[in-house]
Symmetry: C2
Subunit: 202 residues, 2 copies
DNA sequence: GCACACTAATACAGATATGTATCTGAATTC
DNA sequence: GAATTCAGATACATATCTGTATTAGTGTGC
């Protein structure tokens, strides 16, 4: 196995990536205040020295994580939007995207944590709000496009409904994560579909 | 001002109450892990000694807070239900109750924090789920009663929709708290009303 | 009013965090 | 291949938190 000798920059980037990945795992599991820099570094196979050499603080790493996740989601949605598929296919795409983006990984927990941090810390809030507003605009645009096709006039601004949509998805995701027995994935999806369809289509 | 000389039990209860109140404030502000026992005790005007003499741990106090808040909400809803008013009045009551229970105080932040704790700690989750399921049942019953009156057949179980309702309310409340400018109270209410009405009545 | 009981303060031991300052070894440059 | 530079390890000084063990002081019952 030819273990390539890394250049200095490659090595640094690798460390950064590993720290980010480790950070996502640990912070999702223990929360921001609950995770020590030591934890994160050690889980990635490094020491605190490496961490502080790559990030100014735990919070900086966290924001970086959120930014990346946000941009992934943003791009995913944009791609579906740009594809210009017929409604039916689009809906299927969205459903698939939802499953992939929100279930099974750490992303959901990170955003939940971020919300709490924002609630408490004004500086953090400012940073997070920027991301959330971008998300709202994307989703809001989506909703309006959809409803135009469906010839449905929305009773309230699409951007406001975007907030509702985010709230609903994240909240339901939480219940599903915490009590999969009482709210199985299947029911969660059916219920979301019922609300969305009633609100946006009927 | 006749400062009454307190009996031992009264004095103890007073301490307990003060610690609980202080706990609510501090935990809402800094989160569970972010608040130290010292903080909570000091803010109530006591030392850690008093705290540990009244509670087994920070988590115990937190659960107690949630239980109290839950029972308050539970009773409020039950009272509205039991009053047997005509639909219009009931809806107004609900709206008023929502405003009073969810806006303006620490309760919302505590539940958000609790959700995160539950996500991470299985033991905590068990305890919290019990409360959440009671809440779901109350709200689910509500929804079904309402829809019976409205002669609307629900597409999914009322209990599942109860999860959705909780998710929606709490999530929207968060956006409203973090960016009141982008989602003012007025819009939030209008949007919630739109979704509820579409889902439950039309 | 005296002895007891209980509430809350104080003191202590142990654990864990943070951030900086310094050091080492490997990559890069000439 | 020697000098330099930079990533990351180690060491250190400083906080802070928890939980227990002990102590002081104030209601209670005799």
């Amino acid at each position: 196995m030819p273990r390539k000798r890394l250049t200095r920059e490659e090595s640094r980037d690798q460390t950064r990536e590993r720290l980010l990945e480790s950070g996502a795992t640990i912070i999702a599991k223990k929360g921001l205040t609950g995770s020590s820099v030591e934890d994160i570094a050690a889980h990635a196979g490094y020491t605190r020295g490496a961490f502080y050499s790559n990030f100014g603080s735990k919070t900086d790493l966290f924001i970086e994580l959120l930014k990346r996740d946000h941009h992934d989601i943003q791009q995913g949605l944009q791609a579906i939007l740009d594809a210009g598929l017929p409604k039916k296919d689009m809906q299927a795409q969205l459903s698939a995207f939802y499953l992939q983006a929100y279930c099974g990984d750490t992303s959901f927990a990170l955003w939940a944590e971020a919300r709490l941090c924002a609630l408490r810390d004004p500086k953090f809030r400012t940073r997070l709000n920027a991301l959330l507003l971008e998300k709202r605009d994307t989703i809001g645009y989506f909703i309006e496009q959809f409803c135009k096709v469906m010839e449905k006039t929305l009773p309230v601004p699409g951007q406001d409904l975007a907030f509702g949509t985010m709230a609903l998805i994240d909240g339901v995701r939480f219940f599903n994560a915490c009590m999969p027995k009482e709210l199985p994935e299947e029911n969660a999806q059916a219920m979301l579909a019922a609300i969305f369809s009633a609100t946006f289509f009927d």
